[in-house]
């Protein structure tokens, strides 16, 4: 449990907030794809923490940025934090996106609130000399986030459901055989239907990772609230804990149906 100080907190799109915080002590270890587990208010009014992916870390200034959508009561309370407020945070927690140093080209795929973790990942991949192409999908232009920031690390392809920005349709629109042939690896985060579609398209073509979302109780492996179906080490299918064994899983291990 670390206490962070809010250093910046602004709206960057419709219902989308960017919150930057500064570690009061040492910056803890972090890797792309991990999440923070955040207490959104004191007292007993809203007990459970809320998981939010880390989006960007600036180690020099010990600043960490998250980007989140106001979706319900918890994120609404979080959005009320003001500059200077202190934030009670667990983490970064969970399994990260593994970086394969031998790769030449990585395909990043983010949908909606699955886009934020792609930024730190793109930065670290680019830092290792791996070429990055990012496909991002949003409902509409109003919800679009982080396109400029991601462009700093490679090409960004944009899809929106209503065509108000980039190509109309889903992120899978861009996943042509041509593009896939160039990619050594993919990394995806977004809503389940998107991840399931990505898994189908990539199957037998490109290896990669999916970052899953599930409602969490504890965030640290205690409650078994956050499980998702996946292949177990023994080959059978069972529930695995997204908070502790994930949120990032090898794509071929994740089971979406049945």
């Amino acid at each position: 449990m670390t206490i962070w100080k809010v250093t910046d907190h602004v709206a960057i799109a419709d219902q989308m907030m960017r919150l930057t915080m500064e570690a009061e002590g040492e910056l803890p270890d972090y890797r792309p794809g991990q999440f923070l587990h955040i207490r959104v208010t004191d007292g007993f009014d809203h007990l459970l923490r809320r998981p939010i992916s880390l989006c960007l870390v600036e180690p020099d200034t010990k600043q960490l940025t998250i980007v989140y959508r106001i979706s319900g009561k918890g994120t609404k309370l979080l959005s009320e934090k003001r500059k200077g407020d202190r934030l009670d945070v667990l983490g970064p927690l969970g399994q990260s996106f593994p970086i394969h140093t031998g790769d030449r080209h990585a395909l990043l795929i983010g949908g909606g609130i699955g886009v934020p973790p792609m930024l730190e990942l793109a930065k670290q991949l680019a830092g290792k000399g791996i070429r990055v192409t990012t496909i991002v999908g949003f409902q509409s232009a109003k919800q679009a986030i982080l396109i400029e920031e991601l462009s700093a690390y490679g090409e960004v392809l944009v899809a929106t459901n209503d065509g108000s920005l980039g190509r109309q349709g889903l992120v899978t629109e861009y996943m042509t055989d041509g593009l896939l042939a160039l990619a050594d690896r993919f990394y995806a985060c977004g809503p389940s239907p998107m991840l399931s579609a990505v898994q189908r398209v990539m199957q037998d073509k490109v290896d990669g990772y999916l970052s899953l979302e599930e409602r969490m109780g504890c965030g640290i492996g205690l409650c078994a609230g956050c499980v998702h179906k996946a292949k177990l080490p023994d080959g059978t299918v069972g529930y695995r804990k997204v908070c502790k064994e994930g949120p990032v899983f090898p794509a071929q291990e994740v089971v979406f149906h049945g």
């Binding site: 409602r215 504890c218 205690l222 409650c223 609230g225 502790k244």
Partner: protein, 317 residues
């Protein structure tokens, strides 16, 4: 200032160095928590429900937030007693503390078999019998809400095991004192209470329950007054020690349960809010005792009961 408080308590044959243990299902099998602190700090550890066969558990969402509490419907997910004995329990022997294993089942036979194997394994210092599942799926028998079937189950399990038997009561009953008396008479060495209250939340945007299987168990501070009342009531109905739980978030809450009649306490939901909840609660209890000139924490058990106290059930409201 430097006065030492005797924090030890006795639950049946078990001597605990302090009265605080994690509640079943809120601590998995201990491995995860061991990343955060030395488990030897705890009075005891209660691990997740174990069943004879592996259980997949329920579909998600399994948890939901409620005012001052949460709902869960994990569905007893566990790898089955064989793997629990083989893979989950042995590491706990590294720590200096009694291991209590929560046992669930669907019929007397599988309860007995699971309990016997755990008792024989040498990895369980006590068993906690989870009869709190008011569930027709449990073989059609409502162990947790019917004193006669509960007593029958308890006596069978008791006869099959060598370690102390703690029976965990459900709060979803009209008369919890009657349940407590029945399981005591059937051989329970201690009672733990309360399990969760059956609740539901509806996502009004989606027009359906938030929990996939519709209902879940309510825990957290919201239920504390109900839990304290039930502990108070049961403490007057039975002689065996009580492990009290339900919404304990800090040392004062724990002391409230002891004063109501508990000999020890368990902490569930609080671990999700703060991984250090248990060690913090132990420290807070000790500080409170020191500041209030309590030499032995065990002396607090039941002090809220009036002299010549009447049975609370006789004059509710």
């Amino acid at each position: 200032m430097d006065k030492r408080v005797d924090m030890s308590v006795q639950i049946a044959d078990l001597r605990l160095k302090n009265p605080v243990m994690p509640a079943s299902g809120c601590f998995a099998f201990g491995k995860e928590m061991a990343d955060w602190y030395d488990l030897s700090l705890l009075g005891a550890i209660v691990v997740k429900a174990t069943t004879l066969e592996p259980r997949l558990g329920n579909p998600t969402p399994r948890v939901a937030e409620t005012p001052g509490g949460m709902l869960n419907a994990i569905g007893l997910q566990n790898p089955g007693v064989e793997k629990v004995i083989g893979e989950e329990l042995p590491h706990l022997r590294k720590y200096d503390l009694p291991v209590i294993v929560n046992v669930a089942g669907t019929a007397i036979e599988d309860y007995v078999e699971t309990a016997k194997r755990l008792s024989d394994s040498g990895y369980a210092d006590a068993l906690e019998l989870n009869i709190s599942c008011p569930n027709v799926k449990c073989g059609g028998i409502q162990f947790g809400v019917d004193p006669i079937v509960a007593a029958e189950l308890v006596s069978h399990v008791k006869a099959a095991i060598k370690v102390p038997l703690i029976v965990k009561l459900s709060p979803n009953v009209t008369d919890i004192a009657e349940m407590a008396r029945a399981v005591e008479a059937a051989g329970a060495d201690a009672i733990s209470m309360i399990n969760t209250l059956v609740g539901m939340s509806i996502d009004i945007a989606k027009r359906k329950p938030l929990i996939a299987i519709e209902t879940g168990g309510l825990s957290g501070p919201a239920v504390k007054p109900i839990a304290v009342r039930m502990v108070y009531q049961v403490a007057q109905a039975v002689k065996v020690p009580i492990i009290g739980m339900g919404g304990i978030m800090n040392g004062e809450d724990a002391i409230e349960f002891m004063m109501a009649g508990a000999s020890a306490v368990a902490v569930g939901t609080a671990n999700f809010v703060d991984p250090y909840a248990c060690p913090n609660i132990i420290a807070q209890m000790e500080t409170w005792c020191r500041e209030h000139d309590v030499e032995r924490v065990a002396d607090l058990t039941g002090v809220a009961r009036k002299q010549g106290g009447f049975l609370v059930a006789d004059r509710i409201r």
